[in-house]
Subunit: 334 residues, 6 copies
Amino acid sequence: MLSQSELSSIVKGDPVDHFLLIKKCELRLTKSSKEFLSLELGDKSASYASSLWDDIPGFKSIKNSLAVGDIVRIAGSMDEYQGNPQIKIESIRLSKQSDDVSPKDFLPKSLRDLNLMKKEFTDRMERVNNIELKTLMGNIFSDERFEKYTLVPAGKMWHHGYISGLIEHTLEIIGICDLMCDIHPEINRDLLVCGAMLHDFGKIEELSYEPVFEYTEKGKLLGHIVISAMIVNEEINRISDFPENLKNNLLHLILSHQGKLEYASPVVPKTLEAITLYQADELSAKVNAYKNVIDNEIKPGSNWTRFISLAGTDIHSHGIKNSVDIKNNKTLFD
Amino acid sequence: MLSQSELSSIVKGDPVDHFLLIKKCELRLTKSSKEFLSLELGDKSASYASSLWDDIPGFKSIKNSLAVGDIVRIAGSMDEYQGNPQIKIESIRLSKQSDDVSPKDFLPKSLRDLNLMKKEFTDRMERVNNIELKTLMGNIFSDERFEKYTLVPAGKMWHHGYISGLIEHTLEIIGICDLMCDIHPEINRDLLVCGAMLHDFGKIEELSYEPVFEYTEKGKLLGHIVISAMIVNEEINRISDFPENLKNNLLHLILSHQGKLEYASPVVPKTLEAITLYQADELSAKVNAYKNVIDNEIKPGSNWTRFISLAGTDIHSHGIKNSVDIKNNKTLFD
Amino acid sequence: MLSQSELSSIVKGDPVDHFLLIKKCELRLTKSSKEFLSLELGDKSASYASSLWDDIPGFKSIKNSLAVGDIVRIAGSMDEYQGNPQIKIESIRLSKQSDDVSPKDFLPKSLRDLNLMKKEFTDRMERVNNIELKTLMGNIFSDERFEKYTLVPAGKMWHHGYISGLIEHTLEIIGICDLMCDIHPEINRDLLVCGAMLHDFGKIEELSYEPVFEYTEKGKLLGHIVISAMIVNEEINRISDFPENLKNNLLHLILSHQGKLEYASPVVPKTLEAITLYQADELSAKVNAYKNVIDNEIKPGSNWTRFISLAGTDIHSHGIKNSVDIKNNKTLFD
Amino acid sequence: MLSQSELSSIVKGDPVDHFLLIKKCELRLTKSSKEFLSLELGDKSASYASSLWDDIPGFKSIKNSLAVGDIVRIAGSMDEYQGNPQIKIESIRLSKQSDDVSPKDFLPKSLRDLNLMKKEFTDRMERVNNIELKTLMGNIFSDERFEKYTLVPAGKMWHHGYISGLIEHTLEIIGICDLMCDIHPEINRDLLVCGAMLHDFGKIEELSYEPVFEYTEKGKLLGHIVISAMIVNEEINRISDFPENLKNNLLHLILSHQGKLEYASPVVPKTLEAITLYQADELSAKVNAYKNVIDNEIKPGSNWTRFISLAGTDIHSHGIKNSVDIKNNKTLFD
Amino acid sequence: MLSQSELSSIVKGDPVDHFLLIKKCELRLTKSSKEFLSLELGDKSASYASSLWDDIPGFKSIKNSLAVGDIVRIAGSMDEYQGNPQIKIESIRLSKQSDDVSPKDFLPKSLRDLNLMKKEFTDRMERVNNIELKTLMGNIFSDERFEKYTLVPAGKMWHHGYISGLIEHTLEIIGICDLMCDIHPEINRDLLVCGAMLHDFGKIEELSYEPVFEYTEKGKLLGHIVISAMIVNEEINRISDFPENLKNNLLHLILSHQGKLEYASPVVPKTLEAITLYQADELSAKVNAYKNVIDNEIKPGSNWTRFISLAGTDIHSHGIKNSVDIKNNKTLFD
Amino acid sequence: MLSQSELSSIVKGDPVDHFLLIKKCELRLTKSSKEFLSLELGDKSASYASSLWDDIPGFKSIKNSLAVGDIVRIAGSMDEYQGNPQIKIESIRLSKQSDDVSPKDFLPKSLRDLNLMKKEFTDRMERVNNIELKTLMGNIFSDERFEKYTLVPAGKMWHHGYISGLIEHTLEIIGICDLMCDIHPEINRDLLVCGAMLHDFGKIEELSYEPVFEYTEKGKLLGHIVISAMIVNEEINRISDFPENLKNNLLHLILSHQGKLEYASPVVPKTLEAITLYQADELSAKVNAYKNVIDNEIKPGSNWTRFISLAGTDIHSHGIKNSVDIKNNKTLFD
């Protein structure tokens, strides 16, 4: 297990003595035609550029073998080049078995406790009443798939773009959906909650996240919406007498959950559950995205981010403190 | 107080003996040049066309005085013309003081109990901790304004388009916002909840709802967003030392709550609270709208509505029943 | 087999003595409260309104049993009401077994010979070289499915909206695709042609066409693109060792063939075959659509159609005759 | 005539001994205030940056005279700077008459044989039956104009952006149009084919391609569509009794061939020929564009291009080989 | 010359004794199969429906000969049907030579004095300094063309849609352009003013206005922008040594004057004069359009029009009176 | 008062001995880890990059204190780096009281005489006839606010982006509006002119311009449209008996003046005055923007700017000279 200070906390001049993940790696020539490696090195808190010069011990042996996804131990210091932080390398070595480090240790990760999230998810699954849906959920979230499902990020960037981001995001949506069912008894709660659990399920095949987050070939050619629908279709076909109406409505929830054709949903929401799921997804995603942007894109001394094109605006952190909160965390409907 | 069967429950051939509201009224000529009144008559459940012929007793005295908003007592029967229901009038008289009926009795109304909603709203207002915001809320929701606020619909059509629709809608949003604050402690709860309470406040001047729902001249020229902002601005100016930062952020919540310039917000959401309010508003509005459309636009024997242009689709009622619900109305985060 | 003059050739005053399909059927009341049936009657050439009055022999026995999809024998004459043609019924009876007529006889139909089209399709399937694809095609186009496939229209309206429209349309696309492969050897011909054959295959479940063209519930909730992809996915899974790369690329062709997200494709074309298929589909569809509109929407004495909203314009028939054609029907590349 | 290895085949470290075209040329200062020329040098296969330092023999005489469009003979080697290839110059001289090289030798060029393409074009022109159109074609494609027409590229980039690109593109469109005429006898073949021949004709005045591809002032102010229409209008006016109807329809084909107002067509397609030409143009252009992007933008070791904004996606080369092709290059309709 | 009260001033019950223009004319059958003519009759102030029954004297002789564009003398009275005014005909006869009426008398017409507008236009033409442009203007505005130019409307509807609407509109634009030249001496005044004079010139071939406003076949296939450009191009070619630069810039003004590709300009404004002309055209057109809509679409008792889709809103007449105006009403041309 | 040559007139090699404004200032490290200040220095004519090295006298004392908005006296020369001009600093000192220079001297400024513009504005204000509007104008344009109003730019870039840009822009609009009132007596002149004066008034709080142009926090959260409306609302509330109708119409002019929702107006123009103001604003803004772009973005030897994204095109300076202008240059205000 990795235990070292976070890279983002190291400032110019500080020593660096860290295991770091290779995120980019390219062999180049200087103007005077000497070889060097242009690297990007990072842990889950930050990633910085670095150059590995040919006078570093072991350069020859390492220059052709080093690859994206390798973990290296770096000694050196934090430097700066043209206003951007950069790591000055004094020595480098590849990690060994005995170092007990793994690429996963270097990826950004949900701040919520994973076991707690797993328990919340399986508990909620238990509370599904409809027999066919409960059976289906059990089959789909088999051990192996559930493992992947609880690790995959919800995306490469924008919202919940970190390990276990998808389950964190899904739990938020379920919470919102349950609240909407409390308000509107016309909504079919089981159908909606199962749709929420499955809506982004295809991301386990659309995204790879080790050693770095990347779209798979299948993901780029088919997209996670259709992958989800094809898996759910297969699993439903294995259950005898699964009602046709229920099948079509569950698949409709998955297919329509991005809400608009131009957001890549092949059908728009046509049922009460479908519109609820789409809007709950939007609410969870946008709030998380704004929160991340505020965390990551505000420079010291400012309270505005740069222009964020996905939001169509720069985003503001007003800094107005929350008043002491006298037991507010019950919802209005308790 | 009005007590009679709902108009929507009367079928062809049934007698009609009802107080009804005049919703349209026009004096016309038949082909043979006889005068008649072309009327639309309704209660809160339905509105139907009717013709008042010149051989009805009292036609002469009534033909020039009858006006939109009047209440009349009709005796006659339910008929049909070219496939549409129509009321056949045998006698008509204007309502009198002693009938104890008022136009409000004939408008569609929230199904939730108004006193309970008022209590939920004022209770939640009590739980605002920030002193300046609490003072401001108290001043704005003075008795007279609060009265109007609790009656106004959220719109003419689409979502929450009935008496007390705005407060019902606002309470839903507050519930969603409180849930999001439970998940994300970074959100300023007081600011967000006050923004939610005020976001559509200007509708009390934008819409008139007696005797029928209509946009006011001011509403059409300025819009409820700017009306809200101008009132809040005035009220804040009356409070000495109201923090400038808090003022700008509260106004920003109101101005940006429709989320996009093309939806008539003059600024887009630039803060965490603003994006939360916009998405919570969307969630509440869209779910309510779909529910209403399913209630009102599905004909017997079908389970699809006509094409609904605001939704960009026809909408489906799948009819899959909710399973027996074993105590699910706690949210995931209790 | 039906043999009678086409309804579209009957003019005002002519007698009508025809088997006709009931396309709409509604029981209504006249102003004087007498019952009548409001009908739409048609054959494959035209459809007209008609009223069945209560003084027609047999009215009582027929009024509650007549339904959409029934075939009736009508005697009467061609009439007109408010400028629109209308059938005046003098007698009516339901068709009998011995009449040897079926709803299919009354639906618009491709003008091309169906057996010839079937042969062209299966011949072309034979010419697929890739073993896995050839196996897959054979499995998918099983006898039963092929039967449906050769009857289904390509849509309810706009282009190829008639019986056997889909196979006619698909053959055009295959012709265009083969030409593009002749020009560009970089295109994988087998992949492209199989993609063309399968691209709209899901329409056999999206559309019903007996007795009238209609979208199915499944069709409206899932759409033919995803239905196609799910069937092809299932069939591929039945073939052992079907190459993953080939599978993803074939599914990509189906998913991306409408070319743009806003046209309901969940992914845009990302390969050479995908862009070719999309553009070939567009070419075939648009030319057919313009041809149909010119055929159906130009009134005598004019050479312009009304404004056609799917085309965004009114459409013109210039009437410039083709010169005598001296053996031009070889393409440039023969 | 130029005979030397293609620049794109030279790798880092290889000697360079080539005639190359100057594509950009700028006099600059180093940090230490020494002058150097910043150049872009290329042949038809590739273009690379290069710096001409002041210690190269002849620098003084050359530094103020060298200009875009000049051909120089370079001796040196292939180098690299910051990951990009760059030519290291050891000596340079301007080309001489006796070198027998011309700028045209350095521009990208259609891979099809030009004489064959000319023959195909004139043969097809011969097969036009309509007398007026045949006369018009003969007049427009006079020797001088035809010469230009057969050299001009179809654009600066995206599709057919190389010498003789326009005629190659036009021949493809004619092939597609003839196929569509075979399928649909309602299309006026002569009108459509002449429209295809003329649709981009104005590019001979919109684009200059010697020594480099560039838009002309006239091209930028008027656009090739209107230039085409004005030339065709002038030429038609020279033919007495050219039918007005035919004139308007031919001009309409030219004006509407980009299919949508937002693509710079001042009218949308309103005839069967116009919609066919637009869709055939799209098919030819898009397939060529994807092919070029795959050729030029896929880096070794990858099978995806960068994000191509004109396509709205990154593009994939799947690498699935064509099966042995058993005589498929007849179209379905032979 | 026509001298009678305006049709719009006749109210229900008043006698009608007017020459009126036939705007629509269709032979129909009543339910009882009697023939009648369904007409639209109007003068320049209004148009109303009317039915000509078979018991009107002369019905037989007139029923097959009456045509759109004919002028008839009607005696009868103003009536109403289903809330809309309608003319009840008692007798009808075709107009005769001696009646001295012409279709032009029945078309809406500019309220400004035509001779004054002609004088303003030719005076302004005189003030063009540039020799080539002055010659060109003289040639283009030959007597015959100028006659047409001064009669043609600027459109069928929306703005300046009446006889002499184009010259009225053009004079407004010239006034605005001259003001902008006063402010910005960088603008080439002659170029801009000539561009303004010519910008919609092609409408003399795009629109026909006798006996009713209609688009011509040429107008629909080519559009007035390209027609203008082709005429100006021809006329410039007749002037020897007309500067190429000036030609391209003048044509650019015509081609770009609708400002955006989606408004049918094939190029967008790229020069100072082009942007000025586009914005001046918009200003003149939009203000005139709003004025007309307010005049024609506000019903008594209201101060709002219906929803006007070209404006995207309903339009308001506030009725706030102008204060006494102390001598501001000199135009720029005084 | 500053008196020195304009920075834009200094060419490479010339000495620099100027007071200049610090527009950007950042402390950085060289590759060899030496500190330097990366600066942007400018006057109102131009801004250039510069590096302040650690061997310049006083570097130590200045490096941490220098800030954006400071004025410094620079001695050095004009240099160039990678093709861009750059100032080589030999000595630097902060400006002193006795230098009598202020940041305002270094900002771009309207070329029109400010006192003349003030007089034009107040004279026009005097000519308002409506009593309530005249009172309101007097109150709003109090001395202090008027001072700010006459200095603020109309924007950060694009049009009138310089000191006193707003008043220059407003006067142009007033001129155009008065002309439109001359043409259309239906327009309420007082209302329109007051709307023009106030339309961008909120920019005095939205923009700060000393020492550099910047949006304020309030400006970013509320926008100048709503700020304008809130101020005008407050001032109207101070005037007793200000007519409600007039108030709503004046506020409507401000709110709708950007013409479309997507341009951030919360309502679209619904009155004759509103559409006039919007189009007059567009005309003034676009012409000024094109003029500025032509002034600033055309490099020597070219007559085209780069692609200007706000215009959606590159812009052309044709260079065709104005003919001698015979007395057209009186403005409307003469």
